[in-house]
């Protein structure tokens, strides 16, 4: 692996996730978050070279709505800007890539979108092909249930295994003030919740909510000036699988596995289990087990600590859920994690995904020290 440019996360701000914000449209939620992230870094907007946003117009019901975010991001004088119809964690990837080319040193990465004004299940159904998959009414819950069934059939995992994963997330999530669900629940309690789509119970599913997020990335030389404890990017990789669900082994995530291998190799880290803390974008216990397997992690091990934030099962602001995973690792490694801090955390892994059944996967290996000297 050749030497790459050291880039760090230097700031992260988010609104607490809620089911519905009655007072603010999407951009009005985003504005204070951008201000907060800049204020935390002690700079004005002009200090940042590049900006990139993740949102989906179908979610907000505003065609070309993504451009309205420019009005609240300090886009004057004219900026270099990019938008992805993807979770903002993927925007961070493009910002990092852009920095590797050397044409910018700092970037503002935002995620925004209201889920409560439309119907996310209907919107996410449209991610599937219009001939076979979308017309039969597949939504994320039902495609996740197909995935969970396939995983159970291959591995022998049981309902109790799913309940244990969900309970661990819920217990951790009670300590995170940004979560929508902040109450612990035991595995026994969760196993008594009714089926949503069997084999997934209501207690195993995320509460879909809304928020706005902003992360600031900076290259070496600037990062140290913007943050007392920058969190450095050691490795990253992004892999995508086919859209056709039937063409994939849903019980595994080949793209998460390959992305993890590549990101770990870039980071010079032998195993994912060498990290101290991991944040996974898994919307069901089955997805968490599949991603753990792909990364080579034991979901039941004490270390690394998995989802000390509570994970998506406690807060799932679509379009920001992945960036929150990165933000959580930033908080953990920079001493900003409050009551949920993992002791002696020096290396962390953040995972983000997009699409039905883990179609696209992005893995970040992050650390308290610079990767390349």
């Amino acid at each position: 692996m050749s030497t790459l440019r050291n880039v760090a996360i230097v700031g992260f701000a988010q609104l607490p996730v809620v089911a519905r914000d009655e007072h603010r449209i999407s951009t009005e939620m985003l504005y204070p978050v951008v201000r907060q992230a800049l204020a935390d870094c002690g700079v004005e907007r002009d200090a940042i070279d590049y900006q990139i946003g993740g949102s989906v117009d179908y979610m907000d019901g505003r065609p070309f709505g993504f451009v309205s975010a420019l009005d609240v991001m300090g886009s004057w004088p004219p900026r270099q800007d990019l938008h992805l119809e993807m979770d903002a964690a993927f925007c961070a990837y493009y910002a990092w890539l852009r920095m590797q080319t050397g044409d910018c040193d700092t970037a503002l990465v935002v995620g925004h979108g209201k889920t409560s004004e439309g119907d996310p299940d209907r919107v996410l159904n449209l991610q599937l092909d219009p001939y076979y998959q979308a017309p039969i009414g597949l939504d994320p819950t039902s495609s996740c249930a197909l995935q969970a069934s396939a995983y159970m059939a291959r591995t022998g995992a049981t309902d109790a295994d799913f309940a244990a994963i969900a309970a661990r997330n819920r217990a951790a999530g009670a300590r995170n003030p940004d979560n929508q669900v902040r109450s612990a629940a035991s595995a026994a309690e969760l196993q008594k919740t009714p089926w949503a789509v069997e084999p997934l119970r209501k207690g195993y599913l995320p509460p879909v909510g809304e928020s706005a997020t902003c992360m600031i990335l900076a290259a070496e030389g600037k990062a140290e000036k913007l943050c007392d404890r920058p969190v450095w990017i050691h490795g990253t990789d992004h892999r995508t699988e086919m859209q056709t669900l039937g063409a994939r082994d849903l019980s595994r995530s080949a793209s998460a596995k390959l992305a993890a291998e590549k990101a770990l190799a870039m980071a010079g880290l032998p195993r994912a289990s060498d990290a101290d803390v991991v944040e996974l974008y898994a919307t069901t216990p089955a997805e968490e087990l599949i991603v753990c397997e792909a990364l080579g992690l034991d979901a039941k091990a004490a270390r690394p600590v998995i989802n000390p934030s509570g994970g998506p099962l406690c807060a799932h602001p679509i379009m920001s859920t992945g960036l929150v995973r990165m933000g959580e690792i930033f908080r953990q490694l920079s001493g900003r994690a409050g009551d949920r801090a993992v002791a002696n955390a020096r290396r962390g892994i953040a995972h983000a995904m997009q699409g039905h059944c883990l179609q696209q996967n992005l893995v970040w290996v992050l650390g308290t020290e610079r990767r390349w000297s």
Binding site: R24, E28, E117, G118, R122, V123
Partner: protein, 166 residues
């Protein structure tokens, strides 16, 4: 025996149904509610003092918050316009008609407005216009509360007063 279809299936009809209930947000909710009282509200940039109509949470230009709401008169100046000679979906207006940008007095940016009660050929940049409201009791707090703008007969404004408020 299953016979193959006589005609190949060439098209698949796929209807997309996506319902939304938009919230206005507190800024626009105040603005829309004020229309019922024949008032037009703007928000003021805390840094430059520029007034935006409808009210914005921050200045897109300065990035500073707009924390103060101010009343803006229901009259202003045509900053640019066009004459529409073709039917437009959703509007039943006699052709030709004039669609204009109107900068209300004191506002830093213009709103879009229908111009009536004058010949399209008489409309010009710098022309003074005023709002014609729906009658009392018929305003609901939406943009239809202003039926259109019409000339006031005041002297035209000079270009330098409106060319940076397009």
């Amino acid at each position: 025996m299953n016979e193959p279809p006589q005609e190949p299936v060439k098209y698949v009809e796929s209807k997309v149904y996506l319902p939304y209930d938009y919230i206005a947000g507190d800024y626009k909710a105040r603005y829309l509610a004020a229309l019922k009282d024949k008032r037009i509200l703007g928000s003021k940039c805390s840094q430059t003092g520029k007034v935006f109509v409808p009210p914005l949470i921050c200045s897109p230009e300065s990035f500073a918050p707009c924390t103060e709401f101010v009343d803006v008169p229901d009259r202003g100046v045509i900053t640019t316009f066009c004459t529409v000679n073709i039917p437009v979906i959703g509007r039943d207006i006699e052709l030709p008609y004039v669609a204009a940008s109107v900068a209300l007095d004191g506002a830093a940016i213009s709103i879009f407005a229908l111009i009536q009660e004058c010949k399209p050929a008489d409309v010009r940049m710098g022309m003074r216009v005023e709002a014609v409201w729906k009658p009392d009791g018929e305003r609901h707090g939406d943009h239809q509360d202003i039926l259109y703008f019409r000339p006031t007969g005041e002297p035209d404004e000079r270009p330098e007063s409106y060319l940076n408020r397009l």
